[in-house]
């Protein structure tokens, strides 16, 4: 496959996705449907960014939610405490999270497997407890209260629900496109090589530590984009954004959707959101229902939905090839 044709195809997909998503508000005025898409955009970016580490880099981070949280908090704080415009606050949130990712990543990516996982978990809990403790800045366990101001910019008013919807869709599609392009680039190929055989990569003169760190920083930045969208949606930021359950959910999304397909995490995010919405409405034993579903999935399916679909598709195509 030529790189150019693949890039053109991805851009076509992105344009198609934006067109399709813009059609939705014309079809339905239901707030529930639009809200669902906005939440999906935020969590889809977040889960996909984690998959850069887990699926493409082989680094199982248990603490990715700290960057989701840092994005939401920095964005909210910049708008609440200063006169920053939304685009600047957005960039500020990404820059801060990238810097945080650089510092934490520099320490973590040296460690192997399970120790990497635990150290990221530890940093996440550290950040979570800083958010809880620094009450004067973050509002402690109440979160950033009082709403985040949304001054209009470039003629776009995000206080309007439909505008927020469009904004979230465009940001989501662009972020996914960016991640896709970078993962298809030589850098992405190197990252996959490091995942499969770090020693061989090192023999070929690749600085393994540096590649992993770049991936970590990039994933942190993208996670913060998800956090910003979520902060815009709920008009606030809460300590739960940086809590381990958030990371756990993201891991589950990846696994449910499939970590070997680029859109897997997005599909997983949609499935988990849908599932959560349905069970909170039907039963008070949310954990029991979710747990049984997870068990069924982990012991029955043993792979993500998208992995499963692609396998099925390949089988069908192969059958078609035979005379």
């Amino acid at each position: 496959m030529k790189p150019h044709s693949s890039l053109r195809r991805d851009i076509l997909w992105a344009v198609a996705a934006i067109l399709l998503l813009s059609a939705l508000p014309m079809l339905t005025q239901s707030r529930v449907a639009l809200d669902f898409v906005i939440r999906l955009a935020a969590l889809g970016i977040f889960a996909s960014s984690l998959n850069i580490l887990v699926g493409y880099g082989g680094m199982v981070s248990f603490g990715h939610a700290m960057f989701f949280g840092s994005g939401a908090y920095v964005f909210g704080l910049l708008l609440q405490k200063t006169e920053t415009s939304i685009p600047l606050a957005f960039l500020g949130a990404i820059a801060f999270s990238g810097l945080l990712g650089l510092i934490i990543g520099a320490i973590c990516v040296r460690l192997k497997e399970i120790y990497f996982s635990f150290l990221t978990l530890a940093f996440q809990m550290l950040i979570h407890s800083v958010i809880l403790t620094w009450t004067s800045l973050t509002g402690g366990d109440q979160g950033l209260m009082g709403g985040i101001p949304r001054p209009p910019f470039f003629g776009l008013n995000l206080a309007d629900h439909t505008s927020l919807y469009f904004f979230a869709c465009v940001i989501c599609v662009l972020s996914l496109l960016l991640m896709r392009v970078i993962l298809q680039s030589p850098f992405g190929a190197t990252l996959r090589m490091v995942r499969d055989n770090a020693e061989r990569a090192a023999f070929l003169g690749i600085d393994v530590w540096r590649i992993k760190l770049y991936a970590f920083v990039f994933a942190s930045c993208m996670a913060s984009v998800g956090g910003v969208l979520m902060a815009l949606f709920v008009s606030g930021a809460f300590p739960d954004f940086a809590y381990w359950t958030m990371s756990g959910d993201a891991i589950f999304m990846i696994m449910m959707g499939g970590l070997h397909v680029f859109t897997g995490p997005l599909v997983g995010a949609g499935l988990l959101l849908l599932f959560n919405d349905v069970i909170t409405r039907t039963t008070q034993y949310h954990g029991l229902a979710l747990g049984l579903a997870v068990l069924l999935f982990a012991l029955g399916f043993k792979r993500g939905m998208m992995d499963f679909c692609i396998e099925l598709l390949r089988k069908i195509i192969r059958k078609g090839d035979q005379p």
Partner: protein, 301 residues
């Protein structure tokens, strides 16, 4: 933040004794939970995220059995055996199916069990905080050491933990089963090639871990309040303990548990809101200095 209070505490013997007592019981409980966790990791290379639920189940079992029989000792032993059985079933019916799967799949299965157990506890015991109260046998006036207060039950708890730790050490060092477990931890393929039924050993290790966690839950019941989320907080703390000590090392778990226990009890005085943060800070520092933990060996791949 009040480092001044911490400084004052260090200069008074009574405060040191009181806080040492608290630190030691936290450390004892943590050690029992973490020992099982680290044993399971050492032998199977699996991180049992459901270990906190074992502990929780132990505490609730003690609550019920104590109410029924009135004997605390019987309740604790029942909890140990009951949770051991639970660990056995957990291994046979769930974990065994994902040994060969991705680490993330194992994580998911454990995560599911945590969610399910929390809700099962809610169904049987309710979602409210419950407390068992101190059994009558221990309702004696506390000891006074150098002006510091040490409740009678603390002494029993620490004593019980020491006894269990000694039994565990003796079992691992001298018994045939212990030798097989250590061999399986070092080289599972070789062990099974020598004719040892490793599948059975795996089940035994999970049952052991369950017994230890159940006993810990049982010993914690009189001094801790119980709620469906209690498994998770102890889980995170025992993770820190095992990581600090080195995954797979039982003596490392002991060292880590004592450290975390003391950090918790003294940290509450100096930095009441940042105790969690302090523990994680300790773990981060140790992992940076010694990436495999204090007593950990090179990681097995």
């Amino acid at each position: 933040m009040n480092p001044q209070a911490l400084f004052e505490c260090f200069s008074s013997a009574s405060c040191i004794v009181t806080q040492m007592g608290t630190g030691l019981i936290i450390g004892s409980l943590l050690f029992l939970v973490a020992a099982g966790l680290t044993l399971i990791f050492g032998v199977l290379g699996i991180v049992n995220f459901a270990h906190g639920s074992f502990y929780m189940l132990g505490a609730y079992l003690v609550l019920t059995v104590y109410k029924l029989t009135g004997y605390y000792a019987i309740a604790v032993v029942t909890a140990g055996i009951g949770v051991g059985l639970f660990g056995l079933l957990f291994e046979r019916f769930l974990m065994r199916r994902v040994y060969k799967a991705d680490v993330l799949m194992q994580l998911l299965v454990c995560y599911a069990v945590v969610l399910i157990m929390d809700d099962i506890v809610k169904i049987f015991w309710g979602a409210e905080f419950l407390s068992m109260g101190m059994p009558e046998a221990f309702q004696a006036p506390p000891f006074f050491v150098a002006g510091g207060v040490v409740p009678v039950f603390y002494v029993y708890l620490i004593g019980a933990a020491i006894l269990i730790a000694l039994a565990l050490w003796a079992m691992l060092t001298f018994s045939r089963l212990g030798k097989i477990i250590r061999a399986a931890a070092q080289n599972p393929t070789m062990t099974s090639a020598l004719g040892v039924n490793t599948s059975l050993i795996y089940a035994a290790v999970f049952a052991f871990g369950g017994v230890l966690a159940g006993l810990a839950g049982g010993l914690a019941a009189p001094v801790r309040s119980m709620s469906p989320g209690m498994g998770f907080s102890i889980l995170i703390e025992s993770f820190i303990v095992t990581v600090i000590g080195g995954m797979g090392s039982v003596s490392g778990a002991l060292l880590g548990a004592l450290m975390i226990g003391l950090i918790r009890s003294f940290g509450t005085i100096g930095f009441p809101l940042f105790v969690e943060g302090l523990m994680f800070l300790a773990m981060v520092l140790i992992l940076i200095l010694r990436p495999n933990g204090l007593l950990g060996k090179e990681t097995r791949t």
